[in-house]
Amino acid sequence: MCLGVPGRVVEVRGVIAIVDYWGVRRETRLDVVDEPVAPGDYILNHVGFAICKIPAAEARETLALYEHLLREAPADLMGTDVRGEIPRDPGPPDA
């Protein structure tokens, strides 16, 4: 749970953003990030909350590790953790 996962902001609705994580769009809360966030920005997500904005120039480098893990090690421990960090659909868990 230490690893955040980066995503690209698609839309902002108040304290909620729609964020694209490798083609998966998920709601991500903006209450704890400390800078204004706009569509096109990259954020680092931790358990459904954006914890910081990633400077645009550095977003590509930050994404590289994740892309490697998702592409080349999807089933192993670290790859699973990264996938597990991509936010789920909002709403209660399945009963």
Binding site: G4, D31, A73
Partner: protein, 377 residues
């Protein structure tokens, strides 16, 4: 803090570049040779660092004298038996306990939450604090969010506590605050830690400035590190340089995400909702100021103040035979490695974990079981 200690190497790193990795490894070799001791010990405090070190085989390229060990960097692992017992008691008492996936299988004195669920209790795995709140909104049951994680995760629990939550929602906090645990581990005579690597994403929230008082007190350098293999190697090079030069300083090797001040908005929210309290961490005994508990203003959300939680019956039923040989505690304080445990890989495996370090994907045992530990040289 001289600007020169904010290393520039991390900015220039090309990622997963083998040539760059070899160059860093050579520099590390030279620096550790210049330190000139038989053993130089650097501790990291992050399960993701251990994952990256093990997965990418970094220990194979480290100098023989450099020992990189994992400390209490797994929040699930350091959650102690009494906290699990509280959650199990609440679940058996008819509350719906919502928690993060790994927490479900952490052994309590007698039962884990998964055991309680098998016996009929309602236990829900959630991805986030917000999802636990959504669960409470969707049911009339009393929902207790068993909240674990270090300060990075506590920030998100604080955010939901500050937002509108339904009356049937409460929080059982097992949140931990890592800087005080570093203080305790730094004083252990068995480990002789000469530098710490700090977790980049946690420092995103706290800022690297938070480590300055620690460095001043213990005269041990702290290097904030990212999660790329090259980020970690570069951070180790910087740590070795500071050890060689006798410079106890904070170095930020993850400048693309971490600033000195950190995320002030998140810090404000965290400390509005939580205060530090002393508490037991598994394996490290009491950590003064190491737990995060809800402030009085949030008493109505505090499961400990809302419900009478009597864990006595669980403790009375305890049989500790199987866990007696488990050395999780010694592993969490960096005194031992998984390979030192007689149960590792035999009696204790991910499918049937004996100790918390084999449960969590951030636990040293689970990580070594998947990737192997120290390279056979």
């Amino acid at each position: 803090m001289p600007e020169s200690t904010i290393a520039r190497d991390a900015d220039r790193l090309a990622y997963r570049d083998p040539q760059r990795a070899r160059a860093l490894a050579r520099r590390l070799e030279a620096l550790v040779a210049e330190i000139g001791r038989e053993r130089v010990c650097v501790m990291h405090v992050c399960g993701t660092h251990e994952q990256a070190i093990a997965k990418f085989g970094l220990r194979a390229v480290l100098p023989r004298a450099l020992d990189v060990i994992m400390g209490p960097g797994c929040p699930v692992c350091v959650t102690d038996l009494p906290e699990v017992d509280e959650a199990v008691t609440l679940a058996q008492d008819g509350k719906r306990v919502a928690t993060y996936g790994d927490m479900v299988r952490v052994p309590g004195t007698t039962l884990s939450l998964a055991d309680a669920a098998a016996l009929g209790a309602r236990v829900d795995v959630v991805y986030s604090a917000a999802q636990a709140v959504a669960l409470a909104r969707a049911t009339r049951d009393e929902v207790v969010f068993f909240a674990s994680g270090f300060e990075t995760t506590a920030v998100t629990t604080a955010a939901v506590a500050l937002a509108d939550v339904p009356p049937n929602f409460s929080i059982l906090s097992a949140h931990k605050y890592i800087p005080p645990a570093m203080e305790v581990v730094a004083r252990l005579p068995e480990t002789r830690i000469e530098a710490f690597l700090a977790a980049g994403h946690a420092a995103t929230i706290t800022g690297w400035g938070i480590f300055e008082p620690f460095v001043a007190r213990h005269r041990i350098p702290v290097v904030v590190a990212g999660f790329e293999p090259l980020d970690i190697l570069a951070a180790l090079v910087q740590a070795a340089r500071l050890i060689r030069d006798g410079r106890p300083e904070v170095a930020n090797m993850y400048p693309r995400c971490v600033t000195r001040e950190g995320n002030r908005n998140a810090q404000t929210r965290l400390w509005r909702v939580f205060e530090t309290a002393s508490g037991r961490w598994r394996g490290i005994a009491d950590v003064p100021g190491g737990n995060l508990r809800l402030r009085d203003a949030f008493a109505r959300l505090d499961a400990r103040r809302r419900y009478r939680i009597d864990t006595g019956p669980l403790r009375a039923a305890a049989s500790r035979r199987r866990t007696e040989a488990c050395i999780c505690g010694r592993i969490l304080s960096g005194v031992a490695t998984p390979a030192d445990c007689p149960l590792f890989g035999t009696a204790c495996v991910p499918e049937r974990p004996v100790g918390a370090c084999m449960v969590s994907t951030e636990g040293a045992c689970r990580i070594w079981h998947q990737y192997g530990g120290r390279a056979e040289l």
